[in-house]
């Protein structure tokens, strides 16, 4: 499967205001206190707005995996083309809601947990449903993530030490357990 990022979301993600707030406010907030290690997988959907800030903050290599089907060679987030334990961390910044169902999102989270090595971090930002989101999601291709149930979904994906903060974006950070079940 792949994600479809419509024109409204693409326009938002390429607007100077959005990029500035991601760079200046949201990425520093997301990354504060996280040790991403030497090789981060960054899952993106559409425009690569999260990549510069991540490259700036990351101490190691950043591999970008594109979900959007209109962008050349998308990856299937439910079958990531990487071996187990390949990365020291994975991020999904304003990306998971483009995976078109909660079930597929959960499979993608489990995949992130698989490709990150034990002890590594899986983190990201989710937008919140609301009037603005609904105005952009005209084709219904995007499925917003309820912050009130998301901690349980991260746990069920096999992650531990789940941190969740609900601001006007939701920040999540969790860890692959040292010993996989």
């Amino acid at each position: 499967m792949s994600a479809r990022v419509n024109e409204s979301f693409s326009q938002l993600y390429t607007s100077p205001e959005f990029i500035e707030s991601i760079d200046e406010e949201w990425m520093p907030w997301l990354l504060d206190g996280l040790d991403l290690g030497e090789h981060v997988l960054n899952l993106i959907a559409g425009p690569a707005f999260s990549v510069p800030a991540l490259q700036k903050a990351a101490t190691g290599q950043v591999t970008v995996a594109q979900l959007d089907q209109s962008s050349g060679d998308p990856v299937d987030p439910t079958r990531l083309p990487f071996p187990k334990d390949q990365f020291s961390a994975a991020t999904a910044v304003v990306a998971l809601h483009h995976i078109p169902s909660a079930e597929l999102q959960d499979r993608a989270l489990a995949e992130l947990a698989r490709v990150v090595r034990p002890g590594g971090i899986v983190a990201g930002l989710n937008p919140i449903d609301g009037p603005h989101f609904r105005r952009m999601n005209t084709d219904g291709a995007s499925v917003p993530i309820d912050p009130l149930t998301f901690a349980g979904r991260l746990t069920r994906a096999g992650l531990v030490d789940v941190e969740l903060t609900v601001w006007s974006f939701v920040r999540f950070a969790a860890r692959v357990p040292e010993e996989r079940p």
């Binding site: 609301g130 009037p131 609900v166």
Partner: protein, 188 residues
């Protein structure tokens, strides 16, 4: 409140947001009451809109100037009673109300402890089966800029359930949209 913030809360744009986004979201989940205690109406954008649907509103505002303005504005309307009072010590007997509400105000209550005291005080003045409902804004960089130099203690949606239970409520129903957290809680 700082000046820019007070202007926003008194603006047509804010009234439109309350009318279009906030109140419909709340009243899709809770019945419109006949008699309502409104906590912290501020400039009264919500009070105006609620009054169209609700026969009697008792508005409690802790800011003296805002309370006086609101009392003057509704002076000719027997359906709105304005009290200048602190919602952590309400001037009403136990069980006076069947419904209480607060809209995008609780982040102005300066500490979690005082917010909890407010919840407990609302529970006291509700009769059994009575309902507390409303919304608060979500935290974030833009929200903090708007409150620069002001109190800014938005409710954490992830801890609100426990806090309402500790204040004496049950059947807590929470929802989060970008426009805020919505809470509905009943006094057992």
């Amino acid at each position: 409140m700082n000046k820019a913030h007070l202007e926003l809360c008194a603006s047509d744009q804010w009234a439109e947001h309350v009318k279009t986004d906030v109140l419909p979201w709340v009243f899709e989940a809770v019945d419109v009451p006949d008699d309502l205690l409104e906590i912290g109406p501020g400039p009264g954008a919500t009070t105006d809109l609620l009054r169209r649907e609700i026969g009697h509103i008792t508005a409690v505002e802790s800011d003296a100037a805002l309370a006086a303005q609101l009392a003057e504005r509704f002076a000719a309307d027997p359906g709105v009673e304005v009290h200048h009072a602190d919602a952590t010590a309400l001037p009403f007997p136990d069980g006076r109300f069947t419904a209480a509400a607060s809209f995008t105000m609780l982040h102005h209550v300066p500490s979690v402890e005082l917010q909890d005291r407010l919840f407990a005080e609302v529970a006291r003045v509700l009769r059994p089966g009575g309902v507390l409902f409303g919304t608060d804004s979500l935290d974030g960089p833009g929200f903090r800029r708007l409150h620069e130099g002001d109190i800014c203690m938005p409710l954490d949606p992830l801890t609100l359930d426990d806090r309402l239970v500790r204040a004496g409520f049950a059947h807590i129903d929470l929802a989060v949209l970008s426009i805020g957290v919505r809470f509905i809680a009943r006094k057992p």
